[in-house]
């Protein structure tokens, strides 16, 4: 054990300078008192299986943990297991159809009961329940069975060879929940278990003491956490809501909070805040892409509920590929980057901008703005302005677009710019912005969520955790479209449906060779972007967050939850 600790310490020293610094801050649990975290999108639930929102996933990552996480370089790190199973160590079978996880001995839930393989098996059953509409179902793609071999061993068997068997139980989107707590919450009853969804029992460094929906979470250190010296903080206040500006100010200028997530602010604004010298903005590039999603189904309010924005009603003009392509050609992505992100962004035409092996380098056609080309394309497709009102039409259908996004200064600037460009090619745009907590809230009862998509075009950013885009790309298969029957859950926001795409996703799932996988992933990426213009990527965004200068141990991670190593955070100096 001693040797192992020493070795781990050595590895940490070599790999990460800040972590090495952390070694000098050993001490008893809870020594550093209070930690204040602010997320300007307020968490509405702490169960990642019922919400696609990043804010919900990340707040939950303080409490519940997966078997392994991705670190800041994209490499896999064991959390609840001793080692990540691979073909080399025998954890993954030679034929790639099964993976066997061995839980670390002696792990306890925060209520003191032992963590067993039954909990892991239950987690899989919970998400894969056919009545449940699990938000992370794509993580369990291809899973045939999950079975407990003994108290600490779990075997996941796939229906076909699975070259990337790290979908289930890896990363912040697929944490382990306690079987005893969620036993009564299977299937359609899942959203009704308020106590469990708002205060899950976990193995993570902190325990929820008070959860107020869309407001604030109070947490205390987990007495049963596996490392007796962690976490350094005794209590955590996780404040949600407000806006990015206020969050940035509270960390960078006033110092009321220690950590602010995702400061999506204009570059000059962040720089002027940082001049106060109280905190530091940190940034890293990942796979976060700000994109326009084209609705392939008709969101018209004249349609009845249940038909509106579902595959039953194709979109009157966005189902025409020429229109989607022209809309993309009219956009000057360089200018968007300059206005919105500065150094923290770069123009892209790819849904999967990284890691390098999966990036489609050929796909650069959208980078140059071409207003005249867009006009010619629309003319050619029969969209002409015959009644002289400045808006093109065809067969009585006018190109009028409702363009929605969340309330955020940079996004409203983007909206204004894009509206102007679309105006130049004869497309009228109506703008709408919706409070971020509602837009990303995933509430099946609200008409304003991004999944519901009651608009023609919407803009937001999304990414995938881990380094493999398979789960991300498989979200665009026909069956994952949000619809009333699935409580409007699902990640195929555009309702894209192409049997060839589904077949290629299946092929990706059966290919192990890295070169071949790259080729298929790039082809899938191209099908969604440059071939069909279903998704119109705008900017590859670096993540910018900020931490107080007195908060140590922060390693910004774009491959998993930003709070992935909150157990290692500590206070610098004595000014607590």
């Amino acid at each position: 054990m001693k040797l192992k600790t020493a070795l781990l310490g050595a590895v940490a020293t070599v790999s990460l300078a800040p972590a090495a610094f952390a070694d000098a801050h050993e001490g008893e649990r809870g020594r550093d008192g209070q930690l204040n975290i602010i997320y300007w999108q307020a968490p509405s639930i702490l169960n990642p299986y019922l919400s696609g929102g990043t804010k919900d996933l990340e707040s939950a990552s303080l409490v519940i943990e997966p078997l392994g996480r991705y670190d800041s370089t994209g490499a896999m790190v064991p959390y609840l297991v001793d080692e990540i199973p691979t073909v080399a160590n025998g954890g993954v079978s030679e034929d790639l159809t099964s993976i066997t996880w061995k839980l670390t001995e002696g792990l306890l839930w925060s209520d003191g009961t032992p963590l067993t393989s039954a909990d892991v098996v239950f987690t899989a059953e919970y998400c894969m329940d056919p009545e449940g509409g699990c938000a992370q179902l794509s993580k369990f793609e291809g899973v045939e069975s999950v079975e407990a071999i003994d108290e600490l061993t779990v075997k996941v068997t796939f229906g076909a060879p699975q070259p990337n068997p790290y979908g289930p139980f890896m990363g912040g989107q697929s944490p382990i929940i306690q079987a005893a707590q969620f036993a009564e919450c299977m299937g359609a009853k899942a959203p009704e278990c308020t106590d469990a969804n708002f205060g899950p029992i976990g193995t993570g460094p902190f325990v929820v003491t008070d959860f107020r929906t869309n407001d604030v979470i109070q947490l205390v250190a987990n007495e049963n956490y596996r490392d007796p010296n962690k976490p350094a903080f005794a209590t955590v206040t996780f404040k949600g809501g407000g806006d990015a500006t206020a969050a940035g100010r509270s960390v960078l200028e006033t110092g009321e909070f220690d950590y602010a997530w995702n400061l999506q602010l204009a570059p000059d604004v962040i720089a002027s805040m940082a001049e106060a010298g109280v905190g530091t903005p940190v940034s890293a590039f990942g796979t976060l892409v700000e994109r326009l999603e084209m609705n392939l189904t008709d969101p018209s309010p004249s349609l009845e509920e249940g038909v509106r924005s579902t595959a039953a009603a194709p979109h009157p003009f966005l189902s025409d590929e020429a229109v989607r392509r022209a809309l993309s050609m009219a956009i000057d992505r360089d200018l968007l980057v300059e206005v919105g992100y500065g150094q923290a962004g770069r123009p892209t035409c790819n849904l999967v901008p990284g890691p390098e092996v999966y990036a489609s380098t050929e796909n650069t056609g959208c980078l140059v703005q071409d207003i005249e080309g867009a006009k010619a394309l629309l003319e050619g497709a029969g969209w002409v302005d015959s009644n002289g009102d400045g808006i093109r039409e065809k067969d009585g259908v006018e190109l009028r677009i409702l363009y929605q996004t969340s309330t955020n200064a940079v996004r409203q600037d983007f909206q204004a710019l894009i509206k102007e460009w679309w105006g130049e090619i004869g497309v009228e745009t109506e703008l709408r912005n919706i409070d971020a907590s509602v837009f990303f809230g995933g509430d099946p009862g609200s008409p304003d969520t991004f999944q519901r998509f009651y608009a023609d075009v919407e803009m937001y950013a999304n990414n995938f955790d881990g380094t493999d885009p398979q789960a991300y790309l498989s979200a665009y298969t026909c069956d994952k479209a949000p619809k009333p029957e699935s409580q409007w859950q699902g990640e195929n926001i555009n309702r894209f449906c192409d049997p060839a795409y589904d077949a290629l996703v299946a092929e990706l799932g059966a290919t192990a060779d890295q070169a071949e996988r790259s080729r298929i992933a790039i082809e899938l990426n191209d099908m969604l972007t440059k071939d069909t213009m279903t998704i119109v990527p705008l900017v590859d965004r670096g993540r910018v967050s900020a931490h107080a200068n007195t908060l140590g141990g922060v390693v910004l991670n774009t491959w998993d939850s930003e709070l992935w190593n909150a157990a290692d955070w500590y206070r610098i100096g004595d000014n607590r």
Binding site: T245, S272, E338, Q415, L417, R432
Partner: protein, 316 residues
């Protein structure tokens, strides 16, 4: 002899009542200043765009972050241009044109919501005060509406009626109707209470008794005898209502609700500028000043009108 008698008769000529009101109003310096400012700001937002012919939504990204022209006095190197006397925002939109366009919306919302609120308030107040049978019912209804919080109510209205109104009247008019109705139906209660009280007092006066004794019907009684006599409290509450409506609209826009993001109002311009408040203070000062001064001006006018319309004060 005859001459002097002639002059005396000429002086007896009756003066117009409104002339007296104006004479009294003029003695209130604040009210006159307020009126002058209201006329100015109204002209600024209505005639202004005709003279200053710049599209408020026109982006000119190469000409962004221009400072107002007076910055030259403090800083010779400041980026200024006579083409944009109040400067431009971070996307190069002209701030002066935006304040004009925004003011038109804010004032239009203010006036329309105020007229709606005063109309409803007077109607309910007069009926409650004049017809004893309706009194209890209408006043309890007033209490009920008083207890409704405005912002959550507007949020619910937004959710329920936004799509149908947008389909019928278009995005901007739909939201305009929604906001005006929202403010209108939640701010008539004070007017109703004041009017009811005055009507009840007037009802017992001798001239009403006299009118009733010659068989004046209720409709005539209200329009001929009661309404003219409660005109002064109505006008005062109307000016206060205008101020409240402008502030409520600004608050809604400031919260990011209400009008679409490309549709400027004073509150919206404030909201968009808060991020860069320290670097470009003028972007919050101008719309903020416009809101505050308009509301202050209207309050002063209300104050002056109250004095001017009260015959007891006017007599002195």
């Amino acid at each position: 002899m005859t001459d002097t008698t002639m002059t005396a008769t000429a002086v007896e000529k009756p003066r117009n009542k409104w002339w007296d009101v104006w004479a009294q109003f003029r003695t209130h310096k604040g009210a006159v200043a307020g009126l002058a400012f209201l006329v100015f700001i109204t002209l600024f937002v209505t005639v202004g765009p005709v003279l200053w012919d710049v599209d408020p939504g026109k982006l000119n990204i190469r000409n962004k972050d221009v400072r107002p022209i007076y910055m030259v006095i403090f800083d010779g190197d400041a980026k200024v241009s006579w083409g944009n006397p109040m400067g431009t925002d971070n996307l190069g939109r002209d701030i002066m044109a935006n304040i004009m366009a925004g003011g038109r919306v804010s004032l239009a919302v203010g006036w329309t919501a105020m007229i709606l609120a005063v109309f409803i308030g007077t109607l309910i107040g007069v009926f409650a005060g004049y017809f004893k049978r309706l009194d209890g019912l209408l006043m309890r209804f007033t209490d009920l509406v008083l207890a409704l919080p405005l912002l959550p109510l507007l949020l619910v209205m937004m959710l329920l009626f936004r799509d149908p109104l947008r389909a019928t009247f278009g995005p901007e008019n739909g939201i305009f109707i929604l906001i005006v109705t929202g403010i209108g139906i939640t701010s008539w209660m004070q007017t109703a209470r004041i009017v009811r009280g005055d009507v009840m007092a007037l009802k017992e006066r001798e001239f009403v008794l006299a009118a009733r004794s010659i068989g004046t019907p209720a409709r005539r009684m209200i329009t001929r005898h009661l309404l003219p006599n409660v005109m002064s409290p109505i006008m005062v509450s109307a000016t206060l209502g205008l101020a409240t409506a402008i502030i409520t609209e600004s608050a809604l826009s400031f919260l990011g609700l209400g009008f679409p993001s490309d549709f400027p109002t004073w509150g919206k311009i404030l909201f968009d500028s808060v991020d860069r408040m320290t670097a470009f203070p003028e972007r919050v000062i101008w719309p903020g000043l416009a809101i505050s001064l308009t509301v202050l001006a209207v309050n002063y006018i209300g104050d002056g009108l109250r004095d001017a319309l009260d015959p007891r004060i006017r007599g002195h």
